[in-house]
Symmetry: C2
Subunit: 162 residues, 2 copies
Amino acid sequence: MTQTETVSKPVVVTPEQLLAHWQGHRRLTRRMIEAFPEDQLFSFSIGGMRPFGVMAWEMQQVSALTLTGLLSGEWPEPNWRGGVSPDRGELLSAWDDLTAQIDREFLKVDTAFYAQQHALPWGEMSGWAAAIYCIDNEIHHRGEGYVYLRALGIEPPAFYER
Amino acid sequence: MTQTETVSKPVVVTPEQLLAHWQGHRRLTRRMIEAFPEDQLFSFSIGGMRPFGVMAWEMQQVSALTLTGLLSGEWPEPNWRGGVSPDRGELLSAWDDLTAQIDREFLKVDTAFYAQQHALPWGEMSGWAAAIYCIDNEIHHRGEGYVYLRALGIEPPAFYER
């Protein structure tokens, strides 16, 4: 894979910055998973929505799919219900394994992939859009989790701390 | 302002893609503002959090600050309480004005600004980090709004539609 494009395009963000951005959000989400009372993480709900632990497993699966897809060009649909245990320890263990894998592998992504179109399970989009959608989806559901925590009377971790 | 850097750096995202990304999120947030019952937009709350309309005004102010800052290098703290009316029509009117302004002006941002450090009211950060923080903040609070809508028995607009 080529690591550098030599075209003269405006640089908005480098892969290193995007990696730091992603990992900052993953650290915050990890603190959210820890902030829930263990007996509420996979049960507490408002308005019929999924518990936060279930959303966190989805973030984890989307993140794994995104890393694999950017590295390989293959975007197989995850087995959404497979290996999704209602157990915080298992969730955090899988979370930390993927965090380490992202650190090891993200900068190996062929930067040409970001401009190319890819067939994701949820539609055709550029590699850039796929990467940012993954992070946006995490921010979105984590924001939902903030309301759950407040409804439980718990102060969530600060959004701006990464 | 120079519109193009000729350094050979990996291209993750172009200004045009970042603009489309930002405007896609603004369209979704606008649909959220419209989805609330008018009498709940500035009053409904869970867990002592702010009503969604108040959060939306904050998004609007942060977005205006970010556009101005990227264009001028000046990042004055907004008057958070000034001009923040609990009126959906005024909110949507201001929202649409800023959307048009972003369309007109965002691509005039000197792309060198994205790598430079800027003194924002909430800390020192790169122009890229400032731009993405603005969008992330909107996604985060909008996610909170999704729970409010569900708690009110209303189906929110689809997250993936922009």
